[in-house]
Amino acid sequence: MDLDLTEEQEMLQTMARDFLTKECPKSLVRELEEDEKGYSPELWRKMAELGWMGLVLPAEYDGMEMGFLDLIILLQEMGRNILPGPFFCTVVLGSLPILSAGTEEQKKEFLPKIASGEMILTMALTEPNGRYDAAGVETKAVAQGDSFVINGTKLFVENAHIADYMICATRTTEGATPEEGITLFLVDAKSPGTKVEVIPTMGDDKLCEVVFDNVSVPLSSLLGEVDNGWSIVARTLEQATMAKCAEMVGGAEAALDMTLDYVKERVQYNRPIGSFQVVQHYCANMWTNVVTSRNILYKTAWKVGEGLPATGDVAAAKGWINEAYKFVTERAVQCHGAIGLTRDHDIGLYYRRAKAGELVFGDTDFQKEIVAQQMGL
């Protein structure tokens, strides 16, 4: 057992924290919330220069050859700073499934461009039914000669409006179970018949509706095997759920730090409000939620990174961290008082993202149902 970060991980953590604090101030975060693109190409380029987009990719695809836990550390810092933009969807939802299921040609075509920051990817999985399971995939793909034709609507697709390619989950066959008959395609976002529209959200996180209207894709765009795509999605969802957890834990850490600074300085009744026992209890509870979240994040990410079976662990981690992040940010706003309610103050950024984070890849009830199934109920 070794529960410490390695020296390299600590260096990555410090470097990322310093870089993001300097290059991505909250003023930029706010500006990008209003921005049409929702990301800063200049910042994106600098991140690529640091090698972040290829952090976990092999060297032959211009990657840094680091591990899944290293990616988790980096994402934690991104969540701490609320970095806007397509890092998550490009790296986690895009590069990881290509790396695990792509052909050599696909890897050569996509991965170096992802690593260099030239290419933005996303995954078009969820639909208007709002489900993260296989039964939610209703968008159809039908074989037609040397190509497939896709019809259907995807919803809540992250950053589709700026993506170059989307990994689209389609139903090609009605199988005996919902998991059978799902096929993935790497769809060029400029394919005729593809319509993308950003939908307004509370987190200003650039979720999109993507309509595929007779979109024809070549056979070479097939990712994995026909009808056997769900296992790729399932594996990606496990990784992505932990990646999202990392962002959320980072955000909870930041919200706690901001609150501690505030309650030590804010004076009422001639004393810092942090000297009041009720505020001390809030802060102790917030800290406990942060520590427990970090513990379960690292343990579960370690398991996923090692390739161990972790379906129940991932669900437990997300279920716990969902509630912890919401709890911490809600208490954080309460401790800040009225100033915390304003758009100008940073704490509200975290409050809104905590809710958005809970819903991505399954809310708490959804996760608990998976936990129940995993223990044989």
Binding site: M1, D2, L3, D4, L5, T6, Q9, L69, L260, V263, K264, R271, P272, G274, S275, F276, Q277, V279, Q280, H281, C283, A284, N285, W287, T288, V291, T292, N295, I296, Y298, K299, W302, K303, D313, A316, G319, W320, D365, Q367, K368, E369, V371, A372, M375, G376, L377
Partner: protein, 387 residues
């Protein structure tokens, strides 16, 4: 980072399980391990050397690392192995004597503790020193070669069975700060002037009150240095912390029983386990138990790194004690009208869950109430200003 167990840890776990399978009858109706007093079982642990599982080898211990101590504690607690006759000596008295005790004390007490021959009770709490333990009012006045003790201890576990009290007394009433005037004493419970009264609790196992009326003890009763008792009290917690981490395993056992019950019990023509509300509740407890387990390992691991994770240990205590109440409450909700039945063929688990519903009050109150623990976490851990 590596969350896996070593082969040595796994082997130790198997060894303990095998031992417990042989020594504990499967159908025994024992309740919480901490309250069970069973000197015969304690001596069997002693034969294995396990009473000194974490003690240094030069004092006759096994010198096992903290993570293995936690493995040991988890298995004992999970199997509800009786611990009352040794828990205090093993985790608090022994380690403190090893650290600060005189050679005489070490020679006199350590071998007997390792053999499971002597039982200690913990004399900290008094009528006016509950959460505020530094308000100790039991006095020990020097008189020649002796001290004369007067006062009262309250809620003293095992005072009825103990050979010795490990207790705080006020030796310097004029100390500038009141916690600087407290000493730790070892007092023979057979000394004239000591009377023990019984306090029945809601959960069957009694607590005790102990009265000291001009009790004369030799000067050698002082542990370590005079007036250092508060320091010893607050730093004696490492082994205690690791051991308490094992409590989560005790809760896991109860949880597993409830999962089994939900699978096997039919209500309205279908298993309880198909009820979405029950599925959600049990899943939440499964998550909570994992959080508690990770907490315990984090604390054990940090101790192994040479740090004393004060704040995290307090968090663990708070979290685990409150988890115990949620667990008991959920168990009772699932059992419905059968939950409160205490015995008989109709009583599920021989009334264990209803008993636990009462006993689960204990941990959040004892060992530092969760209210003061949270304040200490905020002040000492987060640097918030004192009230």
């Amino acid at each position: 980072m590596d969350f896996g167990f070593t082969q040595e840890e796994e082997a130790f776990r198997q060894e303990i399980r095998e031992f417990l399978r042989q020594e504990l009858a499967p159908d025994r109706k024992e309740r919480t391990p901490l309250e069970q007093f069973n000197p015969d079982f304690t001596r069997k642990l002693a034969e294995r050397g396990w009473l000194g599982v974490g003690w240094p080898k030069e004092y006759g211990g096994l010198g096992r690392p903290y993570t293995q101590q936690l493995v040991y504690s988890e298995e004992m607690m999970y199997h509800r192995a009786p611990a009352g006759a040794h828990i205090l000596a093993q985790n608090m008295v022994g380690p403190t004597l090893i650290r600060v005790g005189s050679e005489e004390h070490k020679r006199e007490f350590l071998p007997k503790i390792l053999k499971g021959e002597i039982v200690f009770c913990l004399g900290y709490t008094e009528p006016n020193a509950g959460t505020d333990l530094a308000n100790c009012q039991t006095t020990a006045l020097a008189d020649g070669d002796e001290y004369i003790i007067n006062g009262q201890k309250l809620f003293t576990s095992f005072a009825g069975q103990a050979d010795y009290a490990w207790m705080t007394v006020r030796t310097d009433p004029n100390a500038p700060k009141r916690h600087r005037g407290i000493s730790m004493f070892i007092v023979d419970m057979k000394t004239p002037g000591i009377t023990v009264g019984k306090l029945d609790t809601m959960w069957d196992y009694p607590l005790y009150e102990v009265f000291f009326d001009n009790v004369r003890v030799p000067k050698t009763a002082v542990v370590g240095e005079l007036n250092q008792g508060w320091h010893y009290l607050t730093t004696a917690l490492d082994h205690e912390r690791v051991f308490m981490g094992g409590v989560v395993a005790q809760h896991r056992r109860l949880f597993e029983d409830m999962v089994q019950y939900a699978k096997e019990t039919h209500r309205d023509g279908k298993p309880l386990s198909e009820d979405p509300v029950i599925r959600q509740r049990l899943a939440q407890l499964a998550i909570d138990l994992e959080i508690g387990r990770l907490f315990a390992y984090r604390v054990a691991w940090l101790l192994g790194q040479g740090t004393v994770p004060f704040a995290e240990a307090s968090m663990t205590k708070i979290f685990t004690s409150e988890l115990e109440r949620r667990l008991a409450n959920t168990a009772m909700q699932i059992l419905g009208l059968y939950g409160p039945l205490t015995e008989g063929a109709q009583a599920p688990f021989d009334g264990y869950m209803g008993w636990e519903y009462k006993f689960s009050l204990m941990q959040a109150v004892g060992g530092g109430s969760n209210e003061i623990e949270r304040i200490l976490i905020a002040i000492a851990g987060l640097g918030l200003p004192r009230p």
